[in-house]
C-alpha cells in the first residue's frame, strides 16, 4: 500500500508496465525530457531510455498512427496526446484505423494500444485546453473509452488498459490529477467495463465519471445531510457501457441524475438517460435529469464559473426528482 494522488498513480502504473513488459513503449509530445506537461511520465525517460520513452514532433495523427503500427507489430504502445482539444488531428487515425483493424482483418491484426489524454476544465486554461468531448470517442465501435476519477481506479484501469487486447482511449481528468490521495495496492487491476458504486443509497442515483465525480460526490454529501439517501455511481468505462450496473441502481432508487461537463446536446448523458428510460421506465419516479455544460464553446477563465456544472445544480436536479 502506498499513498498517491491520481497523477502519481498513473506515473506508477506506467513505471510498472515499462518494467514488467518489454513491449511497452511510451510516445508523445514532451513526455521524455519534461515528463509531459502534467509530469505524468516524470522520470521514466531517465529510467528506461529514449527507445522506451519517446519524445515526438508535434503531430498527433502520426503519434497515433505510428503507435498503431507498433501495436500491430507486437508492441504495447502508450501514446500521450497533450490535451483532449489537441486530439482531433488524430481522430481519423482512431476512428478509421485503430478502431477498425480487427474488423478489417477479421482478427488477424489487432491494435492493443492505449491513447492517454488529459481532459476537462476548471484550471483556467487557454482555449482548447478544457473541453470534455468524450462523447465523440464513445460513439466509435472498436475502441474502449475509460475515464478514472480516483487514484486507485487510475492505476488499476491504466494497467488493465495496457494489457487489454483492444485499443483504449484513456481520459485523465486534469483537475483531479492532484486533488486527493489514496492508498493503493502495488499489484492491482480494475476491470474495464463495470461501473463502480462509490456510495450506496436508496432515494436517488447520481451518475458521473471523471472530473465531475468530485462535484457529484460533494452533492451527495449535501443531500445526505438533508436526510436523502444517495447512490453515487462512477461510470468509469463509457464504452463498452455497463447498462446492467446502471439499471440495477435506478431500479432500486427510481430516480437518476446524470452529470457531465460536456455540452448537453449529444453528450453521453443522453445515452445514459435513454438507456434508463428504456430499461426501467416503470420504475422511474421522475424524469432522468441531466446536469451538463452548456451548448457553448468551453469558455476562457473568466467565464469558467458560468460554464461548469456546480454542486448546487446537481443537488437541485436531485431535489427535482424527489419532488415528483
Amino acid at each position: 500500500m502506498i499513498e498517491l494522488n491520481l497523477a502519481q498513480a498513473l506515473n506508477g502504473a506506467l513505471d510498472t508496465a515499462l518494467s514488467s513488459d518489454d513491449r511497452v513503449v511510451l510516445l508523445g509530445e514532451d513526455i521524455g525530457r519534461t515528463g509531459g506537461v502534467f509530469r505524468i511520465t516524470d522520470g521514466l525517460r531517465d529510467k528506461y531510455g529514449t527507445d522506451r520513452v519517446i519524445d515526438t514532433p508535434v503531430a498527433e495523427s502520426a503519434i497515433v498512427g505510428a503507435a498503431f503500427g507498433m501495436a500491430i507489430a507486437g508492441m504495447r504502445p502508450v501514446a500521450e496526446l497533450q490535451f483532449l482539444g489537441f486530439s482531433y488531428p488524430a481522430y481519423d487515425q482512431v476512428i478509421n484505423h485503430v478502431a477498425r483493424i480487427r474488423n478489417r482483418s477479421n482478427h488477424r491484426f489487432t491494435a492493443p494500444l492505449v491513447i492517454r489524454i488529459p481532459y476537462g476544465g476548471g484550471i483556467g486554461a487557454a482555449e482548447h485546453h478544457s473541453e470534455s468531448t468524450e462523447a465523440i470517442y464513445a460513439h466509435i465501435p472498436g475502441i474502449k473509452v475509460v475515464v478514472p476519477s480516483t487514484p486507485r481506479d487510475a492505476r488499476g484501469l491504466l494497467l488493465a488498459a495496457i494489457e487489454d487486447p483492444d485499443p483504449v482511449v484513456f481520459l485523465e481528468p486534469i483537475r483531479l490529477y492532484r486533488a486527493i490521495k489514496e492508498d493503493i495496492p502495488e499489484i492491482y487491476r480494475v476491470d474495464i467495463g463495470p461501473v463502480r458504486v462509490e456510495r450506496s443509497g436508496d432515494d436517488v442515483t447520481l451518475l458521473s465519471w471523471g472530473a465531475m465525480v468530485k462535484e457529484t460526490r460533494q452533492a451527495a454529501s449535501v443531500l445526505e445531510e438533508d436526510g436523502i439517501s444517495v447512490e453515487v455511481i462512477d461510470i468509469r468505462t463509457l464504452t463498452p457501457l455497463d447498462r446492467d450496473g446502471i439499471v440495477a441502481s435506478v431500479e432500486k432508487t427510481g430516480r437518476a441524475v446524470v452529470v457531465h461537463e460536456a455540452p448537453l446536446t449529444g453528450g453521453f448523458a443522453g445515452e445514459i438517460a435513454a438507456t434508463i428510460q428504456e430499461r426501467c421506465l416503470y420504475c422511474l419516479q421522475a424524469p432522468v435529469q441531466r446536469v451538463t455544460g452548456w451548448d457553448t464553446v468551453f469558455p476562457l477563465k473568466r467565464s469558467e464559473g458560468h460554464y461548469l456544472p456546480s454542486v448546487d445544480q446537481i443537488t437541485a436536479a436531485a431535489r427535482r426528482t424527489l419532488k415528483e
Partner: protein, 353 residues
C-alpha cells in the same frame, strides 16, 4: 485537357533500365529467368485485374479499382522484398499485395464485400488494403519502427498514389520515418491522377521524388512501367533500410490505363489520345519485347501463362464465391477480442424482431 503526368516519360533524370521498345539502357542486374518470372507475375496480375473488372460488371464484386498499367510498379516492388517484410498499400495494390503473399482468393473475397478477405494467413505481413487516402503510410512507419526497436531485420514498405502526397498524413509519416530513421520504403505510384485531378495540378513541385529533400531523406524517380527499374530501386531502398540507414522515397512514374474505379468515367477528365499514348508504354509489352529479342518469349509460352493464370484466378473466384454468407454473429464478434455484454444485449434484442 491537360496531360495528367508532370513529366510523362523519356526523362533522362528518371531512373530506368528497360525502355518502352524493349531496349535496355544498361546491363540488367537480373537473369533472363528472373525476368521471365516477373513477366509471368505481371501476366497473372493482369488476368486478375481483367477478371475483376468483368465480375464487377456482372454484379459479382463491389466497386473495383483496377491497376492495369501499374503492374510493373507493383510486381517489381514486391519482388524486391523479403517474405516477412511488412506491406501497407491501397485499394489499387492487389498485384503488390498478391506478390507479397496475399492470396488471390482473399483479395477476391474482400472485393465481394466480405471482411474475411482481410484475414491473411499467418506469416504474411501484408495489411488489408486501406481505403482512406493517406492514413496508412504512417502505419508502415510504426511497423518498421517496432521491428527496429525489437531488433528485428524486417522492414516495411508503404505504397500510395500521387494524390496521397497532398494529405497531411504523408508529411507526418515522412517526417517521423526520417526523424527516427525507421526502416521504411515509401513507394509512390504516380499514375497521373487522383481520380480526375491530374498530378500536374496537385503540386508545384516538379517531381514527387523531390519532396524527399525536405525530410532529409533520399528520393528517387523511377520509370514505374519498367519492372526491372522498379525492382532495382526498391531493392536498393530496402537494403538501405535493413542496414539501418533509414527510409527512402521512390516515385514510380506510371499511368492508370483504366478508370479510377468501376464507378468512374475517365472521359470526363482526360483525352483518349493521352491514354492511347500510354498503351505503347505498357509494362507487360516492353518486357515481352525485350524477352522476345532475347529468345525468352514465345507465343506458346504466352498462351501457357494466360491459361494457367486464368485457371488460378478462376479457382480463387470459385473459392471466394463459395464462402458461406457471413452471419450477424460474425459481424458482432469482430469488434473486440471478446464480445462485450452490451453487444450481446443488442444481439438478443434485435434478434427478437
Amino acid at each position: 485537357m491537360s496531360s495528367g503526368q508532370i513529366e510523362p516519360d523519356g526523362n533522362p533524370s528518371m531512373f530506368g533500365l528497360v525502355n518502352s521498345d524493349g531496349s535496355v539502357r544498361d546491363r540488367l542486374p537480373i537473369t533472363v529467368e528472373d525476368l521471365r518470372g516477373l513477366y509471368a507475375d505481371m501476366v497473372e496480375a493482369r488476368t486478375f485485374d481483367d477478371k475483376s473488372m468483368a465480375m464487377q460488371r456482372q454484379g459479382r464484386l463491389a466497386t473495383y479499382a483496377p491497376f492495369r498499367g501499374q503492374e510493373a510498379a507493383q510486381i517489381g516492388a514486391a519482388a524486391a522484398l523479403q517474405d516477412d517484410d511488412w506491406v501497407a498499400g491501397t485499394y489499387r495494390d492487389a498485384a503488390l499485395n498478391w506478390r507479397a503473399g496475399y492470396p488471390w482468393r482473399l483479395l477476391v473475397l474482400g472485393r465481394t464485400g466480405d471482411e474475411r478477405g482481410g484475414e491473411l494467413p499467418n506469416g504474411v505481413n501484408v495489411l488489408p488494403p486501406s481505403i482512406t487516402v493517406g492514413g496508412h503510410m504512417i502505419h508502415a512507419v510504426g511497423l518498421a519502427w517496432a521491428e527496429k526497436l525489437q531488433g528485428n531485420s524486417r522492414i516495411a514498405l508503404t505504397s500510395f498514389g500521387d494524390g496521397a502526397t497532398s494529405e497531411g498524413d504523408f508529411h507526418e509519416a515522412m517526417n517521423f520515418a526520417a526523424v527516427y530513421a525507421t526502416p521504411t520504403v515509401f513507394l509512390c505510384q504516380n499514375n497521373g491522377y487522383a481520380i480526375s485531378y491530374p498530378t500536374s495540378e496537385q503540386t508545384k513541385s516538379k517531381t514527387i521524388a523531390a519532396k524527399a529533400d525536405g525530410y532529409g531523406m533520399p528520393g528517387m524517380r523511377v520509370d514505374g512501367n519498367d519492372v526491372v527499374g522498379v525492382f532495382v530501386a526498391v531493392r536498393e531502398a530496402a537494403h538501405r533500410a535493413r542496414k539501418g540507414e533509414g527510409p527512402s522515397l521512390i516515385e514510380a512514374v506510371t499511368y492508370r490505363m483504366g478508370p479510377h474505379t468501376t464507378a468512374d468515367d475517365p472521359t470526363r477528365y482526360r483525352d483518349e489520345a493521352e491514354s492511347r499514348d500510354w498503351e505503347d508504354r505498357d509494362p507487360l509489352l516492353r518486357i515481352r519485347r525485350l524477352l522476345a529479342k532475347a529468345g525468352g518469349w514465345t507465343e506458346e509460352w504466352q498462351e501457357d501463362l494466360e491459361t494457367s493464370a486464368s485457371q488460378v484466378i478462376e479457382e480463387a473466384v470459385e473459392w471466394a464465391e463459395n464462402v458461406p454468407e457471413p452471419t450477424v454473429e460474425q459481424m458482432v464478434d469482430r469488434v473486440f477480442a471478446k464480445r462485450p455484454r452490451s453487444l450481446t444485449q443488442q444481439l438478443n434484442e434485435t434478434g427478437d424482431d
